[in-house]
């Protein structure tokens, strides 16, 4: 578990995260309240407070390839209870974004990453979510073709899955938003 700190890299990474987060990593005093209340902590490889410290120490490789950042369900329990008002959930967003920008594919939590990507593709092409297409594409990409399969017929029967998509009519504007911010 030894880490040799490279000062320049440490600063660069910490600064990048801080500027995107609009918050200071040094605010965290490692009380662990975020980790204690995290509902998905049991699956994580690093606790949220460890992620914060590791980011401060510039351990970009470990942090950006951690399970933690993809397992976070953005429930905001951590940020809400943080005694220092640190954006704990926010740093997970920032780290995910940096990971994607750096082209890092999560080794362990590929599904989560893929789901988000497929979801955004769906928004990009329709402006709204077409659930059947979303599920289909996701399953095709992850090859989890049969997972949850038993739910589908009943959902269609109940009218929960629509066969046709509802598109935004001014789809050009959606395309522009994606172009401007992607």
């Amino acid at each position: 578990m030894k880490t040799v700190i490279n000062e320049q890299e440490r600063r660069n990474f910490a600064r990048e995260v801080e500027s995107k987060l609009h918050d200071k990593l040094a605010k965290c005093y490692q009380c662990g309240k975020c980790s204690a209340g995290c509902p998905v902590n049991f699956e994580m490889d690093f606790t949220p407070n460890q992620i914060i410290k590791m980011t401060e120490l510039g351990m970009a490789d470990k942090v950006l390839d951690s399970k933690t950042i993809w397992l976070c369900v953005s429930c905001n329990t951590c940020s809400t209870r943080c005694p220092k008002g640190f954006e704990v959930a926010g740093i997970m967003d920032v780290l995910r974004e940096i990971a994607v920008n750096r082209g890092i594919e999560s080794k362990t939590e590929k599904e989560v990453q893929t789901f988000h990507e497929v979801f955004l593709d769906n928004v990009k092409s329709n402006g709204r979510i077409f659930e059947l297409e979303l599920v289909g594409k996701y399953k095709l990409k992850t090859k989890h073709l049969f997972r949850d399969m038993f739910l589908a017929p009943k959902m269609i029967e109940k009218g929960k899955l629509k066969i046709h998509s509802d598109r935004v009519s001014n789809i050009n504007q959606i395309a522009k938003i994606f172009k401007d911010f992607e």
């Binding site: 005093y29 490692q30 009380c31 662990g32 309240k33 975020c34 980790s35 204690a36 209340g37 995290c38 902590n41 049991f42 690093f46 606790t47 407070n49 460890q50 329990t77 209870r81 943080c82 005694p83 220092k84 008002g85």
Partner: protein, 660 residues
């Protein structure tokens, strides 16, 4: 016409080595108004001072300038010498040609030139000097102590033992403060009441102490040596002098349910007529009119009245206002604990077995609601596992306060220790962030709790508490192992942070002392004047200043007392005469001066005509309070306020002397 004498000191070679002192004296003699200019080897020596005195007398000098070392060295020496010849001491000015010239410059020519400049500045200044009389303030040698907790008690006793009269005002029906609610005290584990009650009794019996309990400060005016205070003595409904404290009244009171005992922090009930605890001082009950049936039901119930042998219950008693004049005040108003209900995630108020540290003290105490047996408030069962959570509200800028409450680490360690002593085979878990145990014997104490009593310390906070089948499921983090832990506890004790007593900001405003953003009173200087408030004559003690433990509170009480005894050792209080004064003719009453005055030394004064009609309102400087900083002078647009000794005119003269 000014008659200025100039004395240039050589300071051996210290000055004369770099500055041509003869030349300086020669140049000085040419300045208009200078009647004599001499140089001398050591001006501060006896012969030097004698030369000065002789010259003042012979030449009938109206002002003296010494070109010598820093005024911080010998200004006083020369002033004293001048006074002996009948010259007002403020007619002595010093041109600092040693620290500012000879010691810091090497070029003799330039150094001499600068020395002449500095001398000229002072000559011009002294020409504009005016005599200043130091202000003498009479002292009323009586002290007021606000707050009857341990620090207030200590202050009162020390002052009283020094032979000075003390008035002690306590808001609650009994003195004793928070300390009397504690069980045993860290790190020695001596019982709080055992060491506290003798002191309380001593206060009660002391011939120099006048005790007003169930009383509040209503108004304060005046200044050091001369405060006028009004104390509201709330109606106890008891004729105090007749009461024997026998208890017949509170034993018969029918209101013995639903009124929570403040002393036992809501863990037990009390009657409507009650003493807060059996060792109360004075042992005189009080009727809580908000719950008493007599007051609520239109006088129907008077069971206590009937039971009272000496017939000292009087339902008609009213609040009384008592006026006192005192010379000094100690503000020892103490502290409160933070509201635990801020933390919804901990379920305080929802789960009966989540309690505060002070409640746990009461459960441990032999005089408490369970007579010292640790029992759960929910079902009376003895808990086997207790989780202690530190830093509840402390170090939490989001929901609580950012500062450390200082005592929680220690009292939690004490709680865990006492719990282990009382319940064999029990287990404590303590969630902490850092352990702060820095006084004598403290670190050893905490280590003992871990190593000898088996308390398990986990470094991390608790996020949430659930109830499950009569157990409290505590979900916390252990950041050292990097794990999320769940502990099934029987009871949870929150180490709640310390905040200033409710209303301490109002109290500070009434006293005219400054306080920080939390409401803690601020010291005059954080290091060198920790016992003094920002206002002369008002001293601070105890937790009202900030979190501190019992020994520190006692020390601060004694410190305040010794300051007051020192103050009262003189017959009058002397203030340097270099204070602000107002030109009331031109003052227009905008009171910017009042706004910037850190000493509340400026008040509004009404100027009236013969018929008593207010013509205008102007600023007035209270010489007892003014510290002479001059901030008011800067604040004044019309230049209607000036600072004696540093008049605008004098500063201008100094600048002008430098005109190039």
């Amino acid at each position: 016409m000014a008659r200025i004498g100039v004395f240039v000191c050589w300071c051996g070679s210290n000055i004369a080595g770099t500055v041509d002192v003869k030349k300086v004296a020669e140049e000085a003699a040419k300045i208009p108004g200078v009647v004599e200019a001499v140089d001398y080897k050591y001006m501060c020596s006896d012969p030097g001072q004698n030369t000065l005195r002789k010259m003042i007398k012979e030449k009938n000098l109206t002002g003296v300038v010494l070109a010598a070392c820093s005024p911080h060295m010998h200004e006083n020496t020369f002033r004293k010498a001048a006074v002996k010849e009948g010259l007002n001491p403020y007619f002595i000015e010093i041109a600092n040609i040693r620290e500012q010239v000879s010691w810091v410059h090497e070029d003799k020519e330039k150094a001499t030139g600068k020395a002449i400049d500095l001398l000229k500045m002072m000559v011009e200044k002294v020409k504009k000097n005016k005599p200043i009389e130091d202000v003498r303030v009479p002292l009323t040698k009586k002290a007021l102590v606000i707050g009857g907790g341990i620090s207030g008690i200590q202050a009162a006793l020390d002052i009283a033992n020094g032979g000075v009269e003390v008035i002690l005002v306590e808001k609650e029906p009994s003195i004793g403060g928070k300390m009397i609610q504690l069980d045993e005290t860290f790190p020695t584990l001596d019982c709080s009441s055992c060491i506290m009650t003798p002191k309380m009794v001593e206060v009660y019996q002391h011939p120099n102490i006048k005790l007003y309990t169930y009383s509040e400060l209503e108004e304060v005016s005046g200044y050091i040596g001369n405060f006028n205070v009004k104390i509201k003595k709330k109606a106890r409904s008891i004729v105090e002098k007749d009461c024997t404290g026998c208890g017949d009244c509170w034993n018969i009171c029918p209101m013995h349910k639903n009124v929570k005992s403040e002393f036992n922090v809501n863990l037990s009930e009390r009657t409507a007529i009650y003493v807060p605890f059996p060792q109360a001082v004075p042992l005189i009950p009080v009727i809580d009119r908000s719950v008493c049936l007599h007051f609520k039901k239109g006088g129907k119930c008077q069971k206590c009245y009937d039971a009272c042998g000496p017939k000292c219950i009087n339902f008609d008693l009213q609040d009384e206002i008592i006026e006192e004049k005192v010379g000094a005040i100690v503000a020892a108003t103490g502290y409160d604990l933070m509201e635990n209900s801020l933390y919804g995630e901990y379920g305080y108020g929802k789960f009966k077995d989540v309690i505060s540290g002070l409640q746990f003290e009461r459960l441990l105490s032999a005089s408490g609601p369970t007579e010292g047996v640790v029992k759960r408030p929910s079902d009376g069962k003895t808990p086997e596992t207790i989780v202690f959570i530190q830093c509840v509200g402390s170090r939490d800028p989001e929901k609580g306060v950012p500062y450390c409450s200082k005592v929680c680490c220690m009292y939690t360690a004490k709680h865990a220790k006492l719990f282990a002593h009382k319940v064999h085979g029990s287990q404590s878990y303590v969630f902490y962030i850092d352990i702060r145990a820095t006084s004598k014997g403290y670190e050893e104490f905490v280590r003992g709790t871990m190593e000898n009593e088996g308390a398990i310390y986990l470094r991390g906070r608790v996020s949430k508490i659930y109830e499950d089948n009569g157990k409290l499921i505590v979900k916390g983090a252990d950041t050292l192992s990097g794990n999320q832990v769940e502990i099934a506890a029987d009871m949870v004790v929150l180490a709640t942070g310390v905040i200033p007593k409710k209303g301490s900001d109002k109290m500070a405003q009434m006293l005219g002392i400054s306080y920080d953003k939390y409401g803690f009173y601020t010291e005059s200087h954080p290091k060198l004047r920790p016992a003094e408030s920002s206002t002369a004559g008002i001293y601070l003690a105890g937790m009202a200043q900030g979190p501190r433990d019992i020994p520190e509170s006692v020390v601060s009480g004694s410190a305040a007392a010794s300051k007051i005894l020192g103050l009262f050792s003189k017959s009058e209080y002397e203030v340097e005469g270099t204070i602000a004064s107002v030109n009331k003719t031109t003052c227009v009453g905008c009171f910017y001066c009042k706004r910037v005055c850190a000493y509340s030394a400026i008040s509004k004064e009404e100027i009236k005509d013969r018929n008593g009609n207010v013509l205008k309102v102007v600023a007035n400087v209270n010489s007892g309070l003014c510290a002479g900083c001059g901030a008011c002078v800067n604040a004044c647009f019309s230049k209607s306020i000036d600072l004696k000794g540093y008049l605008d005119e004098q500063i201008f003269a100094e600048i002008k002397s430098l005109a190039v």
